[in-house]
């Protein structure tokens, strides 16, 4: 391609809906584009004007969309935004005026070219309808949530596969049923055989359709269809089939091309021979060497923190693959938590072996706090931990504590070696303040709850997300109960916690720009942790505490639980869970890319698509904060 249309092509490629087009289509559009220059104050079109033959994408600058004789600012479009779609929808005059807020370059795209696309590419039509025809106020577009990383070149993903041409092992005997079986019967078979999908076959075992967990979740559990209906009503068909001697690369391509997660293997690769096996995306991941079970086994066998550090780095490769393949966050978080837990347990065991004088013969427990406590620590960030030991007679208390402190110092030292660096705020079990007996911990929590100063509320936010990682699990249950009892005594506490949770408003400015850091080392970077994730984490913690639920620490699981507990707000909580998943994913990718905590995002490094998606994740924050304001009557506290 000539370099000139190529420049346009590469720009458009990053933005929906152009990102959904195949190469030839987008090349045609790029080759036909007109670049329009506008000075500040110039109009592209005005309200009431008849439609032009172009729609516009902002290449550079900003366009204001105005209504009612330019008195009402409806929207500001910046780089990559699409506007002026009226001619596409109807041959009617523009309902808004478009004015250059600064010097602008626009890509003008022929309506005729797009019209054709809308007819042939349902995805494009759907996207435009979702985002424009029904106004920008269409919140939480389901179709595009979680697709933050679509702009990755699929070819690149393939190259990173470890065993690209390795033949796929599909020895699994396939689980099948007849099309006349009811949904309930099929689900029962799946449950009995512990499989996530079932093939529907005819009498000769030729595949007709497939039913997966996802179908059950999406269509049956939601009540859309009855479980007494035959499976043929909801199965996906036809089934994509592949021959038995396929390679991993072929399987991946077939899955990617068809946008599916399961492939059916038949004798000759067509649907006209008997089924011999079934392959899921998950099978592929397991095939690709970096198997979490193997990593955990290696951790259990390692004898030093240095070895553990090496294995933990391997796990990062696994994480990268998961993130790139958009594996469900629930699964990723579970796997990474298992790996982190295995590492901490092994570190504790190593530290125990190193002790010259063994620990006192009493019960104790190692607690993970913060993101580790919530089971959502994907990257190696600062360690936050604490230790609780059984109550001992007062005379022995200090001696006992010093023994545990010496032990905790070893553990935190080894964790530091493994890449979980020391907490700058000393929120560690090696700090005498956080190495306490059970009774001391109870007193400490009482103190925080009954005297809720700002500092104490901050401590609550960190320490309330505790989780027992080693030793006596019962202690964490007791501490949880104690917290609820104390909160009950101090009715005002949750309101103060609520006020704290509202400290971080949604991170957008009036013009829908990201709130970036005003000064300091990270000037102009966006702090995804404190600005986007913390408001959600804090809201989830507060609301779940309000329901007196223990044992659910994970932020997105908390939201899922809340959706269950409060059907009235179900949609919002589900959106919040989705938003948090996207954020955690994004932060992890950022962290892996820059080899840091991923806390700060540089706006200019992000594509428009990423910015758009990130911006969408902020939407539930506002609604959540409104609920909190009303529920805890925060305004009374000034």
């Amino acid at each position: 391609m000539n370099v000139i249309p190529d420049r346009v092509y590469r720009f458009l490629q990053a933005y929906p809906p152009f990102s959904m087009l195949d190469k030839a289509m987008l090349e045609k559009i790029a080759g036909d584009t007109v670049i329009k220059y506008l000075q500040t104050g110039e109009f592209v079109f005005t309200e009431g004007e008849s439609p032009q033959e172009y729609i516009y994408v902002v290449r550079e600058g900003a366009i204001e969309l105005l209504k009612k004789d330019e008195n009402l600012l409806v929207e500001v479009c910046d780089e990559g935004d699409l506007f002026g779609l009226r001619p596409l929808l109807a041959k009617q005059p523009y309902v808004l005026s478009a004015k250059a807020a600064e010097e602008c370059l626009l890509y003008a795209i022929k309506v005729d070219d797009l019209q054709e696309l809308i007819e042939t590419q349902p995805k494009v039509g759907y996207y435009l309808a979702q985002n424009f025809a029904f106004g920008i106020s269409d919140k939480y577009s389901k179709l595009f949530k979680g697709k933050l990383f679509l702009d990755k070149d699929p070819a690149l993903l393939l190259q990173t596969s470890l065993f690209e041409i390795q033949s796929v092992n599909h020895s699994k005997s396939p689980v099948c049923c007849a099309p006349t079986a009811t949904i309930q019967e099929a689900a029962r078979i799946m449950q009995q055989k512990h499989v996530g999908s079932i093939l529907i076959t005819d009498e000769q075992l030729h595949p007709i359709g497939i039913l997966t967990d996802r179908d059950l979740r999406n269509r049956v559990v939601t009540g859309e269809v009855s479980r007494r209906q035959p499976v043929s009503d909801i199965m996906t068909h036809p089934v994509i089939t592949i021959q038995p001697d396929c390679s991993v690369a072929e399987v991946q391509i077939a899955m990617m091309k068809n946008g599916i997660h399961h492939l059916c293997i038949t004798q000759d690769g067509t649907p006209h021979t008997p089924v011999t096996g079934i392959l899921s995306e998950h099978d592929l991941l397991v095939l690709q060497g970096n198997n979490p079970a193997i990593l955990i086994r290696e951790m259990k066998r390692s004898s030093s923190a240095e070895e553990l550090a090496v294995i933990r780095t391997k796990a990062e490769g696994l994480l990268q693959q998961y993130l790139e393949r958009e594996v469900a966050m629930d699964f990723i978080a579970t796997v990474m938590t298992e790996i982190n837990d295995a590492l901490i347990i092994r570190v504790i065991e190593i530290a125990l072996e190193e002790l010259t004088t063994p620990l006192p013969q009493i019960k104790w427990s190692w607690l993970g706090l913060g993101s580790e406590g919530r089971g959502e620590q994907l990257l190696r960030t600062d360690q936050d931990n604490a230790l609780v030991f059984e109550d001992v007679p007062k005379a022995e208390l200090e001696n006992t504590r010093s023994q545990f402190l010496a032990f905790a110092q070893k553990v935190t030292y080894h964790l530091n070696t493994c890449g979980f660096v020391y907490c700058p705020g000393e929120m560690m079990a090696s700090n005498p303040k956080w190495c306490l007996s059970l009774q001391e911990w109870k007193n400490q929590f009482s103190d925080w709850i009954l005297t809720p100063t700002n500092q104490n509320i901050m401590h609550c936010n960190i320490f309330f997300d505790f989780r027992s990682l080693y030793g006596e699990e019962e202690f964490s249950n007791q501490l949880g109960e104690h917290i609820f009892d104390t909160i009950d005594q101090k009715g005002i506490f949750l309101s103060l916690l609520a006020k704290n949770a509202l400290q971080n408003p949604p991170p957008l400015t009036f013009f829908r720009n990201f709130m970036v850091e005003k000064n300091g080392e990270h000037k102009d970077a966006f702090n995804i942790k404190s600005r986007a994730m913390m408001p959600l984490t804090d809201a989830a913690r507060l609301l779940i505490l309000g329901h007196q639920v223990t044992g659910v620490n994970n932020t997105f699981k908390r939201f899922e639980k809340l959706a269950e507990l409060e059907p009235k707000h179900r949609e919002l909580f589900e959106q919040a869970a989705d938003a948090y998943e996207i954020l955690i994913r994004y932060r992890a990718l950022q962290g892996l890319k820059n080899n840091n905590s991923g806390k700060f995002l540089l706006m200019e490094e992000m594509t428009k698509m990423q910015r758009l998606n990130l911006r969408n994740t902020f939407r539930p924050i506002n609604d959540l904060q409104d609920i909190i304001k009303i529920r805890y009557q925060v305004s009374f506290f000034g």
Partner: protein, 232 residues
């Protein structure tokens, strides 16, 4: 004063070929009295050559794109690679007389002629714009004279000159250091034009076209509206 120019302008003599006659006819048409530059098609172009001497060096490639009314038309572009170009690159150019080369590679001449004929039809009577365009124009003009037997008569506009007009009130008084500020790279930086695809003729022509609309936008705000103001 344009009527004086018209009277005294010596009309070039063109061969009787269709393409030249058609080209010449465009310039005979009466122009509107005070043409606005927005109404005028401009062709922004860049060439790659074997060297920097228009009398001995050869064209290797040309890239061009058209603008009108502050719009860049991606669909209205021209790109060509001259077929004998590669052969000149490695030769000791001084020692070989120009015509000698042309005769030696006469087999390639029809190709290059075809390119130039197409280019002539593409250029029409548009204003030719480029960064330090004088050199590219001289190269092109020589090629047209040598291969097609006639000169170009398009008006020419230099983006480097426009940039200077905007920032340096006293022309012709630039130190070498200041002159460096008017390189295409530096100007792209100044006007926030992301630089990629440089050093291909088309890539540079495209960058120059972006620079041009931005410069014209600024000049327009200072009251430059007509072609005359612009070509001053």
């Amino acid at each position: 004063m344009s009527w004086i120019k018209k009277i005294f302008r010596v009309k070039p003599k063109y061969p009787a070929t269709n393409y030249w006659q058609e080209y010449a006819r465009l310039f005979d048409q009466p122009a509107p009295r005070k043409p606005l530059f927005r109404a005028q098609r401009m062709v922004v172009l860049d060439t790659e050559t074997t060297g920097l001497d228009p009398t001995t060096d050869k064209l290797l490639s040309i890239g061009a794109i058209a603008i009108k009314d502050q719009q860049i038309f991606i669909g209205d572009r021209f790109e060509a690679f001259f077929s004998a170009g590669d052969l000149y690159r490695n030769q000791e150019r001084e020692s070989v007389p120009v015509h000698g080369i042309l005769q030696k590679h006469s087999a390639h001449r029809p190709d290059n002629q075809k390119i130039l004929i197409d280019l002539l039809a593409y250029l029409q009577d548009s204003i030719i714009v480029g960064h330090h365009i004088a050199f590219d124009f001289a190269m092109l003009n020589n090629a047209f004279l040598l291969q097609l037997g006639g000169p170009l008569q398009n008006q020419v506009l230099d983006t480097a000159h426009l940039a200077k007009r905007l920032t340096a009130p006293l022309q012709g008084q630039l130190s070498p250091l200041q002159a460096g500020q008017y390189s295409l790279d530096e100007l792209c930086k100044t006007y926030h034009i992301p630089v990629e695809g440089r050093h291909t003729a088309s890539g540079d022509a495209f960058l120059t076209s972006l620079l041009l609309v931005k410069l014209l936008g600024r000049l327009e705000r200072r009251g430059v509206k007509t072609l005359k103001d612009l070509l001053r």
